[in-house]
Symmetry: C2
């Protein structure tokens, strides 16, 4: 038994080193119950494993330095191997082998490799901490992941783009939001990745890779606040300090099962933050739960200037923009909290969404058009295309979009009054890595532009869809009601836990 088994074991190792995908697929048992897990998550079924192998481009070169074979019966054995990657460190591989008609095959594999110094998909720089709190306070011991758009004194801003970073000098002072967190007891853990110039909702930065989404393995993180979001969901940080122009907090919160707050436009300082489209830009934050989300609000938000009714409404048309599994999850959450239908549907949302994108693009070009034109070759294709398209927007088109946005803002604020709108934070759960994201982006902006055009605060809470993947519900409140909205969100979230 052992000879044939070890022949198969070494054949597998050779195939792995040669990235002989066909041989690897043959040496893994067929069927839906075969397992393969690593730091990126567990894959279930031969097809999922084969699909992963087909695109990964080979495993790092390594040696087997130790093997322990544990025969179980004539047809089963466990083989545990210690691996030594050429690039350093050690790993472990545990395989359950079974002998069948096709000889010995792996039915379950667990692979661990040495962790890198830092996960460059998530972080650009990280410390223990990078910047220590300047005073004790309510956020004592909390670690902040700062999106790479926000000034941290002594460090550069990279804005998600290597050419931007290379030309940047160290910041002379902290952005006021960073200084406020440090003065409230929080440490800055590090500077986390952003989509380029924050102009994406995906997190698929072409230069540094897509941060992992631990709750939805092998799926995208969401962006553009992808680094802070993944840092928080990975437990690398407690607070992700981020920005949201068109959904850049709400989308990663939904995809990763996090809480997030996009404040009322204008109430949290954007000083020291690279702008995208100032008429929509906000600085907000992500956490693993609503209590800390509110505690950060206590530090960063001014006193409320508007009251909040505990009257919750939803718009069936907006909810229907989401995929059925997300819509159902949000509807069921809303029903359990007595959310009532809005009398008059909001909209025309399609027109708002178009105006939002036109005006966002026009402002982005005002801010960065010259840089983007000079650095077209340094930009990923999606963001480059957005700049190129936006550069063709005329002033007249921008004026028309501005008028639509102004009227939408008035309309939403009037229709909602002091009530809270409940809607899906994003229309889908996290798309798979490699999926076509263009249609998802369109559908997402239709949902997220409501708070965007109206400049309203939006708290996002994590839900779980029927398939186990995270999705999010957003609560959009009156302008200037941020603290009350965060308190309401905390109470609404607690209803799940107390069963009330």
């Amino acid at each position: 038994m052992t000879t044939a088994l070890m022949e198969a074991f070494w054949a597998y190792e050779r195939a792995l080193m040669a990235d002989d995908v066909a041989a690897l697929d043959r040496l893994f048992a067929p069927g839906p119950t075969t397992l393969r897990g690593d730091a990126e998550g567990l894959l279930v079924g031969h097809d999922a494993i084969a699909a992963f192998r087909a695109v990964r481009g080979g495993a790092p070169a390594r040696r087997i330095v130790d093997t322990h074979v544990r025969p179980i019966d004539d047809d089963h054995a466990l083989v545990v191997a210690v691996t030594e990657p050429e690039r350093g460190g050690r790993g472990q591989q545990t395989q359950l082998w079974v002998r069948g008609g096709a000889g010995w095959q792996v039915v379950a594999a667990h692979v661990s490799g040495p962790a890198p110094a830092l996960d460059r998909r998530v972080w650009r720089v990280v410390g223990d901490p990078l910047v220590a709190a300047t005073a004790p306070g309510p956020l004592d011991g909390r670690r902040v992941a700062v999106k790479d758009l926000v000034a941290v004194a002594g460090h550069r801003i990279g804005a998600g783009n290597p050419a931007w970073l290379a030309a940047a000098g160290p910041e002379a002072a902290h952005a006021p939001v960073v200084a406020a967190l440090l003065a409230a007891g929080a440490d800055v853990a590090g500077i986390a990745r952003s989509d380029e110039l924050a102009w994406s909702l995906a997190g698929t930065n072409v230069h540094t890779g897509t941060p992992p989404n631990p709750r939805a393995p092998h799926r995208i993180s969401g962006g553009s606040s992808s680094g802070p979001a993944s840092a928080v969901s990975l437990g690398h940080a407690d607070i992700g300090l981020a920005t949201d122009t068109g959904g850049s907090i709400r989308v990663p919160a939904a995809y990763q099962g996090l809480a997030g707050h996009r404040p009322t436009h204008g109430v949290v300082s954007t000083r020291g933050v690279v702008p995208l489209a100032p008429c929509f830009d906000t600085v907000g934050w992500l956490t693993r739960g609503p209590e800390l989300l509110a505690a950060v609000g206590d530090v960063l938000l001014p006193a409320d200037t508007a009251d909040l009714a505990t009257d919750l409404v939803h718009d069936a048309g907006l909810t229907a923009l989401a995929a059925p599994e997300v819509a159902r999850t949000v509807e069921s959450w809303a029903a359990a909290r007595g959310v009532r239908p809005l009398e008059v549907p909001l909209g025309p949302v399609a027109q708002w969404r178009a105006a939002f994108s036109t005006l966002q693009g026009w402002e982005a070009v005002q801010e960065h058009g010259e840089w983007a034109a000079a650095h077209a070759a340094d930009l990923g294709p999606d963001v480059r295309a957005r700049f190129e398209r936006a550069a063709r927007t005329t002033d007249a088109e921008a004026d028309r979009a501005r008028a639509v946005v102004a009227s939408a803002r008035a309309r939403v604020r009037e229709d909602l009054g002091d009530r809270v709108l409940v809607l899906p934070a994003a229309p889908t759960t996290a798309p798979r890595l490699g999926a076509d994201l263009a249609p998802v982006r369109e559908a997402t902006l239709a949902l997220t532009c409501v708070a965007g055009v109206a400049g309203l605060p939006a708290v996002t809470l994590p839900l779980t869809a029927a398939d186990g993947l995270p999705c999010g519900v957003s609560l959009v409140g009156p302008a200037g009601s941020d603290r009350a909205l965060l308190a309401l969100a905390t109470r609404l979230a607690a209803m799940d836990r107390t069963g009330t």
Copy 2:
């Protein structure tokens, strides 16, 4: 079957969360073949696993979010579980269970948890990179881990002590060695841990923990250049920029299976480096192999001022200071390379070693005595005790020690001439975590003080002892022969690979 198995599975999980070590030990199969592996390495045998559990102080709180049970036969099953630690991220646990007289028990477990943002035992701050190369050069693409004693512009020096760090301001300029590496194409990956004020050979920093030693799991890293050494052995960096006063490069190189160079005293700038004992302090480096070790030397070393004979000698008395398994490994390596016995034994080594320690302590007190007295409560007990003892050294004792060192220096240089002394880099393989290190330190200094008192360059090469653990051989050459010594070491190391 499944019911009883899953009862055992959940009993194990409850015991883990309660840190009920007795229950955990009962649920793991007795005997020498039981396996448990995690990121710190593979433990073999129930006793080793129980010893690990007895001291770890519990596992992080977690939930099981997914389980896959794969029954093998009536008495065996594999259970793969996805875990979600409360602090974030996801992990995986693979267990092979067997049913025997004691019910279901684990015979093999493979446990993976989410990696932290950075391993704070290894790094204080790390980036992608932290500081980019300033010019292309021979070290293009190489990543440097800078010991936290060496100035990196814009960053503070922590010297292995939190109170030191808290009082430090950012450095205005790079240390010349850092600037030289950056100008030669290397990036600074980050700032890696040091023992406090570099005054230890263990790496067991009480504030930030002992860096892992991947080649010798559950054993100490060696110090004081513990962070750069572990960063290199983990593959987090290619070059560890470090210091060696009494063995701080040679010891971690030996314990972790790395190559290291301690230069001739005075030939590499110590400007911008926190001193310990200037009359012995050197700035050197660690790599995974001798070729890169020599390539760094090409960048940092001046032209040689002394010739080197290819005449290799050893001193049986010095080699006998090492434990038998290390002595045998070094002797066998030396025999294969025609190393001849020295005619006249070197020494009196015990006297040199005492004078080395006296003078090192006296100088350390000149440098840092005032600070250490003011911060006694901020220092770990070992380093504090060294400062306290050294503070009692009289000027007359220091003068006598200086005279012994001067005479030793002349004696060693005369006895060796242009020959190369081959000796164990450290007397043992890496001691286990928690072992009493005082006797190891004494024996180590007896070996390492030879190059120390004589101010001679020492290249350390990695060997493997019979038990599979790393150990090291040092080649001590004439003063000013560093480049030739590195070239010789590269040739001698290659003899293993070519079989010549």
